[in-house]
């Protein structure tokens, strides 16, 4: 299984994602430039955290026009796994692969801390190694992480079990404590917390490992 980590101008968690996959998981992974136009040969796409294009205008709003985006959409349509973390989640909502939007945190401040997540859906390709309601310690670090969806959309997300992770102590004002959602098909996941920062106990938590292991094993079965 081969992963692509997309590098946009201003991405800065690309190395964290790469190292988690390469050094800790030991899987095949490449950095792929935002200028590339094809993702042929890859089984999964990772949109890492950071500040693509400086978060100018609105987080993720400019990355939407990067040359790589059509290829990312193609991967999603083909049922390949697409994970967007933090800025990657913001980009996924901007390009329409995930519904809803991410607003500035309710506190109007950047917030960096270890959050406790609840696994809301353990039936996705990203979470089948977890148990529903399992608690995970995963770091967050964002200024625009307040997930918003109107009531109709929220009801739909709940009904279709698209809410994958929730915060135990909501740090940013997200509706329904949402920390991560997937698309209807379940192959595209966006989340504000950083599972790639939680893969080594020595750095504080290894609770994020299960997410990557889920992704890898899903592909093995297929």
């Amino acid at each position: 299984m081969k992963f692509a980590v997309i590098v946009f101008p201003g991405s800065n968690c690309d190395i964290d994602m790469y190292e988690a996959l390469h050094t800790v998981l030991g899987v095949e992974v490449d950095y792929v430039s935002y200028r590339a136009e094809s993702l042929a040969g890859y089984d999964a796409v990772m949109l890492p955290g950071g500040f693509s294009y400086g978060d100018y205008l609105r987080a993720g709003a400019i990355a939407r026009f990067a040359p790589i985006i059509p290829a990312v959409k193609k991967m999603a349509a083909a049922g390949k796994l697409v994970l967007g973390v933090c800025n990657g989640f913001q980009i996924l909502t901007e390009i329409g692969l995930l519904p809803g939007a991410l607003k500035q945190n309710e506190s109007q401040q950047f917030v960096a801390e270890t959050s406790t997540l609840l696994v809301a859906n353990d039936q996705t390709p990203f979470t089948h190694k977890y148990q529903v309601n399992q608690r995970l310690a995963i770091p967050i670090a964002h200024g625009e992480g307040c997930y918003y969806a109107d009531q109709t959309l929220l009801d739909e997300l709940e009904r279709k079990q698209q809410i994958v992770f929730r915060y135990v102590n909501n740090p940013n004002g997200s509706v329904n404590d949402i920390a991560g959602i997937c698309n209807e098909e379940g192959n595209v996941l966006g989340m504000m917390p950083h599972p790639e920062r939680a893969v080594e106990a020595i750095l504080g938590s290894a609770d994020g490992l299960g997410l990557f292991q889920s992704m890898v094993e899903k592909q093995v079965q297929a």
């Binding site: 101008p9 201003g10 800065n12 968690c13 190395i15 964290d16 190292e19 988690a20 955290g49 950071g50 500040f51 294009y53 400086g54 978060d55 100018y56 401040q109 950047f110 917030v111 960096a112 801390e113 770091p139 670090a141 200024g143 950083h194 790639e196 920062r197 893969v199 080594e200 020595i202 750095l203 504080g204």
Partner: protein, 739 residues
């Protein structure tokens, strides 16, 4: 281009006096260096280059006191940043810089560009910045809504820049005192890592080689920032906002990646590289030419400009951010440009190295400057200040004896002092984990970072002891270094070297120059004894507002090495029943302590001499115990003394401590230099005390979640949940106050 005044008019009307160039300097330049009258542009360049910020003309004579050499020192002061060997062909690169004046007038941008500037100093050496630390000194926030605003904006500025760059913040300090009410301090420190073989220097040489400009456009922002930083604040100068620059961390991120790609993959294309910092283009190019013993000719029409109609003077002095100068070997200009084009950054050849030692500028078809290169740099007249021992030090107040009737009440009050209280309000706004190497986050004695791909880690901290420096500059200077070393040692690291920011008042005041001189003597002495040479640093003088100087506030940034990161020592107790030791001695001298400030509202008294050799020996013994796995946790005693340190160790744990401390209870609040609380597993106690003979057993770790300390005259017995609530809520509560 018409000059705004003729050389004769300048001589007559003396506009340079407003730019902080003295008449004596102007005359020296005209008569001794140029043998003619300098024109308007040239006078502008001199005023910036001869400012204290660029030339260190006042402080240089005392800076020579610093020890700068050591076995591991690869690059000492004088370059972008200091470089220290950490074995295996790797080096740690670090420097701190002050941005006090900009942060005082425009806290958000001042702080943000302070971070941006120090990052460029580090990556211009060829190192990747891996950590940021910030040392902040504010006025009291309780009754001052403007100060609360400044705190909030400063923190946001530091956070936004570092977060966007993706460089973790590993710590620092936040200190509050009324002496900073009119002049806050923001010192930013950056730590980088590199393969030693990529070391770059700010050097330009080789006739015919090109001078290339890369990065952001040049605009009118920050003109005269260097001279602005070299003069006092006063009510007459409230409109100095234009001297503050505006930061763009996204641009800097691109610049960082482009520069490192160039240095690491194509080092043979370039001669040297330097950040455009204070005094922008003139300072970077003149310094590079001086360093390379070369001359330089620049055409300012080729400089990328953000706005039209800029004069030569404005182009040269602009402090627009996110710009670098590179000396590129002839024939590789297009290769270099291809890299920067790919990052969508400006890149232009603006001049070349010439065969005479001159600094020549063309603008609008005219030569606007033609000077000997060194007249701008090494020929600056040193101005050792007049010195006079401050009157307050001739007759220090009598020794102050605290009366502690209710130690519990005192501890609760101390923990609510903003200097001692929980700083999560601040650190929560900083990403401390990006790049996934952070072993110890802010909030401990030092931040600790793994060196990826090895079993090494580096520890780092930033410390100031300004109250002590105020009471006795020399001993206070020593204490500052000892405090930093204690933080590094508490984390299990061997201190390697220091950087500094020397923050003082107006050096033309003989008493302030004396403080500078004597505190530097103290720092130098401590650095020698502790074997931590000074490898980089910065001087910020003129920190005054309406004639009121800050406390002399030298900030010490120290870096240490942990050879095996499994031996990183946590601050918090790990096991129930472990023994608790005091390493060091409590004291009955409370001069300069947080307790004195709390109970009397001011600080006074004489300090005791430090036995540096003994402190060093103890730290070495403790380090050895840490490195051999004998220590479970360790925390150094600083503001608020043993009682505060013990509380900090217990916060966030379920543990308690039950201790027996000989002496009066007041000593629990004394602040001895270089002392530690250490927890040790019982079965290792014998080995530990053999290794650290002066360790004194005080008691053990309990599961009661209470702090119980019995002394000769009183018992302190506090519920940790209550203490933690007070400690945690103090700053958020102050920030919300209405007064």
């Amino acid at each position: 281009m018409k000059q705004a005044m003729t050389p004769e008019e300048i001589k007559e009307r003396k506009p340079y006096l407003d730019w902080s160039l003295s008449e004596k300097e102007y005359d020296y330049i005209s008569q001794k260096l140029l043998h003619r009258l300098p024109n308007y542009t040239e006078v502008g360049l001199f005023s910036a280059m001869w400012s204290e910020h660029c030339s260190y003309k006042k402080s240089k004579p005392v800076l020579r006191l610093f020890p700068t050499k050591g076995e591991r020192v690869i690059q000492g002061p004088g370059e972008g940043a200091g470089v220290v060997d950490i074995d295996d062909g790797q080096a740690v690169v670090f420097k701190a810089e002050s941005h006090n004046h900009p942060t005082t007038v425009e806290p958000y941008q001042g702080a943000a560009t302070g971070v941006g500037g120090i990052l460029r100093d580090v990556f211009s050496m060829g190192a990747r910045p891996v950590a940021i630390l910030d040392s902040e000194h504010f006025g009291e926030i309780k009754a001052d809504p403007v100060m609360r605003y400044k705190l909030a904006e400063t923190v946001k500025g530091v956070g936004d820049y570092g977060n966007c760059m993706g460089i973790p913040n590993l710590g620092g300090e936040t200190f509050f005192d009324a002496c900073y009410q009119g002049n806050i301090l923001l010192n930013a420190m950056c730590v980088g890592l590199m393969e030693t073989k990529y070391l770059e220097q700010g050097n330009a040489s080789g006739v015919g080689n090109s001078v290339m400009y890369v990065g952001a456009d040049t605009g009118r922002d920050g003109i005269h920032g260097a001279t602005f930083a070299s003069a006092d604040f006063s009510k007459e100068h409230e409109t100095q906002r234009s001297a503050v620059q505006v930061g763009d961390p996204f641009m800097e991120k691109l610049l960082l990646e482009a520069c490192l790609e160039l240095i690491q993959n194509h080092r043979e294309w370039i001669v040297g590289i330097q950040d455009m910092g204070a005094a922008g283009l003139v300072s970077s190019t003149a310094e590079m030419a001086t360093e390379g013993g070369a001359g330089m000719e620049l055409n300012l029409d080729l400089v990328p400009q953000r706005e039209g109609g800029m004069s030569a003077y404005e182009i040269m002095l602009s402090e627009s951010q996110e710009r670098m100068v590179i000396c590129v070997k002839a024939g590789h200009e297009a290769d270099v440009k291809e890299i920067f084009d790919r990052y969508q950054l400006h890149c232009a050849v603006i001049g070349k190295i010439i065969d005479q030692p001159r600094y020549i500028l063309h603008h609008d078809g005219q030569v606007v400057c033609d000077l000997p290169v060194t007249s701008l740099t090494s020929d600056v007249l040193e101005q050792p200040g007049e010195e006079k021992k401050p009157a307050r030090l001739n007759q220090p107040a009598a020794k102050w004896e605290p009366v502690v009737k209710d130690a519990g009440a005192i501890l609760r009050q101390l923990l609510a002092q903003p200097t001692l209280a929980d700083k999560t309000y601040i650190t929560r706004q900083y990403d401390s984990q990006v790049r996934t190497n952070t072993l110890v986050k802010p909030g401990s004695d030092s931040g600790v970072l793994r060196v990826r791909g090895s079993h090494k880690a580096i520890a780092m901290c930033a410390d100031t002891a300004s109250r002590y420096v105020y009471l006795d500059p020399e001993i206070g200077g020593q204490r500052s270094v000892v405090e930093a070393a204690a933080n590094i040692v508490a984390s299990g690291a061997t201190p390697l070297a220091i950087t500094d920011c020397l923050n003082y008042g107006d050096p033309n005041d003989p008493e302030i120059y004396w403080e500078l001189h004597h505190s530097v003597m103290g720092i130098a002495k401590a650095c020698e004894v502790l074997a931590t040479p000074v490898v980089s640093g910065n001087v910020s003088l003129y920190n005054e507002n309406d004639g009121q100087a800050i406390y002399p506030s030298p900030m010490i940034g120290m870096v240490g090495l942990i050879k095996n990161y499994d031996h990183t020592i946590p601050m918090k107790p790990q096991n129930l029943g472990d023994y608790v030791y005091l390493v060091g001695d409590l004291t009955d001298n409370f001069a300069g302590s947080e307790l004195q400030k709390l109970l009397t509202g001011k600080i006074s008294g004489a300090l005791d001499q430090l036995d540096l050799a003994k402190l060093h020996r103890t730290m070495e013994q403790l380090l050895k115990a840490e490195q051999t796995g004998l220590v479970a946790s360790c925390h150094d005693l600083s503001e608020g003394g043993l009682a505060t340190a013990a509380s900090e160790m217990l916060f966030g744990t379920g543990f308690g401590l039950k201790l027996q401390v000989p002496g009066p209870i007041s000593q629990l609040f004394s602040e001895p230099a270089g002392s530690f609380l250490v927890t040790v597993a019982k079965e290792k106690a014998a080995s530990f005390t053999k290794q650290v003979p002066q360790a004194r057993l005080l008691g053990e770790v309990t599961n009661s979640h209470r702090l119980e300390i019995t002394t000769d005259d009183q018992v302190l017995n506090q519920n940790m949940n209550d203490l933690e609530k007070i400690w945690k809520e103090a700053i958020p509560c102050l920030m919300k106050s209405k007064a």
